[in-house]
Amino acid sequence: MKALAIETATAASSVALGEDGEVAAMALRVDRRGHVEFLVPAIDFCFTRAGWTPDDLDLVAVDVGPGPFTGIRAGISAAQGIAAAVGVPIVTTSSLTVLALRAATGHRQIWPVVDVRRGEVATAPFRPVPGGVVRDGATEVVTPGGLRALIDSRPTEALVVGDWRALPDSVFSGIHGTKMGRPRYPAADVMLEIAAMRAQQQDFATPEEVRPLYLREPDTAINWSDFREEGMWPGAAS
């Protein structure tokens, strides 16, 4: 089972090729705006490195967030382009699960955080279990203060991973037993493990599932404040 994984849900972009969860090649770059530029050359590099061609693929895995939508859409679109070309199914992963899976050790409750802009982060609690992690609560978009309250509300000692460096230090200070750790960004190599598992269970994404995880309504502000809402001829609207 040969898979290509694409991850663009944060400031980092990565792609990985692997067989049954084993990594054959990987490329990674941190550049908030560079997802579109990076992806195809990186994919090309990985295929050359692994000595594979696109027709070897059985599966494409793509991370659907949470994270900034623009990067995620670049990744999803690339995944769809490749899947359409070679006719293989898509598996979707969550950036929070990818972060938690890499961090999973010990007994701590894992809180991956992903910057979703406008001063907020997405997070969810994860519990390590043999062979992986289990999500232990809802995915939420919270302010730094809200994140602190969430972590503080649970008795289990916390391990915070992801881009916590972007948050003020005061967010975590004084919460009993909280540790900060790695990784900072989700990466495509971890996605290969998830992809292998899903492929085994034939758990492929439906077209409707291959979408960014939208945790917010679209920003619909249009700068037309110089015009009044009310028309001149009531009832004229077609």
Binding site: P54, F69, S77, P207, I222, F227, P234
Partner: protein, 337 residues
């Protein structure tokens, strides 16, 4: 046997997801998923709404376009996509998809300037249309007059210094409570109206090829507000027809200024505003009066579509020009930049 390239064209720069298969300049299939309704309740194109809709529509449309053309992806000679100008988040969806598709299929990848697509669109229906020509491009996002000296050789002679023509229609229609999109709404509302009832200003008389629509906007709003206060609002058809006439006048004047300036023997048009019936009629009158050939695409090819992008790619592919794998979208790209 034909030697014309078979190209898949993808357009996602604004609020239409367009995909087409074109053979040379011949359209084999062209499919579109318009988001007009999704944006109507906001009275304009919302970038995030547009990007979301492109993600949902694109892949099914690609399959549909290939199926309708009876073409297998292996038979394609290239994949073309709009690189700019446009909304960054919207462009990125088509561009990332097209690039990955082209790479996976091992096909040439061609990033196309959206405006060049509009310049080429008339050629897809009309083999007599050829450079040199003056092309009026007017839509909700752009208003330009372009001198097409040869395929691939374009000079922007003039452009709007504030609102695009379609934007002026949208804003005024919204002000008058006519709904969105504004161009067709004002077009319909003007039925039976007198285009000379109210004389709204025609701006930038001293700049032969440039447009400005903010003065018109202010004039309409101020005069209507005054009329409302005075309890003497003129009939809607007269106002709509007069607004339309003011916008059309400016577009037609500047276009034929450019024809005179360059001596071009042909005029063409592109962009959603070119679907306006009054504008088409006036261009037709003026062209006939001057003995200039007019090439206006049918309304479906005036608005954004994938076929015009594939058609423009034919020019580049014939010249051996393709786009690098590391290319990115260019939201602010200029045709002659």
């Amino acid at each position: 046997m034909t030697t014309e390239p078979l190209i898949l064209g993808i357009e996602t720069s604004c609020d239409e997801t367009g995909v087409a298969v074109v053979e040379g300049f011949g359209v084999r299939s062209s499919v579109l998923s318009s988001q007009t309704e999704a944006h109507a309740r906001f009275g304009g194109v919302v970038p995030e709404v547009a990007a979301r809709a492109h993600v949902e529509a694109l892949r099914p449309l690609v399959h549909l376009a290939l199926a309708r053309a009876g073409v297998h992806s292996d038979d394609l000679d290239g994949i073309a996509v709009t690189q700019g100008p446009g909304l960054a988040g919207a462009l990125m969806v088509g561009f990332s998809f097209a690039k990955a598709l082209a790479w996976s299929l091992g096909k040439p990848f061609i990033g196309i300037d959206h405006m060049e697509g509009h310049l080429v669109a008339p050629r897809l229906e009309d083999a007599d249309y050829a450079p040199p020509a003056i092309v009026l491009l007017a839509s909700g996002g752009h208003s330009q007059i372009v001198h097409v000296r040869a395929w691939g050789d374009y000079e922007v002679l003039g452009e709007t210094i504030d609102d695009a023509a379609g934007e002026a229609f949208d804003k005024l229609a919204r002000f008058m409570g006519l709904g969105y999109p504004g161009g067709p709404a004002i077009d319909v509302a003007s039925d039976g109206g007198d285009p000379d009832a109210i004389r709204y200003p025609r701006a930038l008389r001293d700049r032969p090829f440039d447009f400005s629509f903010s003065g018109l906007k202010t004039s309409v709003v101020t005069s209507l507000q005054k009329a409302k206060e005075a309890g003497d609002v003129p009939p809607l058809p007269d106002v709509a027809a007069s607004i339309q006439e003011a916008i059309v006048d400016v577009l037609v004047d500047k276009t034929f200024n450019a024809v005179e300036h360059t001596g071009a023997g042909a005029v063409a048009g592109g962009g959603g505003v070119l679907a306006n019936r009054r504008l088409r009629a006036r261009l037709d009158e003026e062209a006939a009066a001057r003995g200039v050939d007019l090439h206006l695409p049918t309304p479906a090819l005036c608005t954004d579509n994938g076929a015009m992008i594939a058609g423009a790619a034919t020019i580049h592919l014939r010249a051996g020009r393709t786009t690098e794998w590391h290319a990115d979208v260019r939201p602010g790209q200029r045709l002659d930049g």
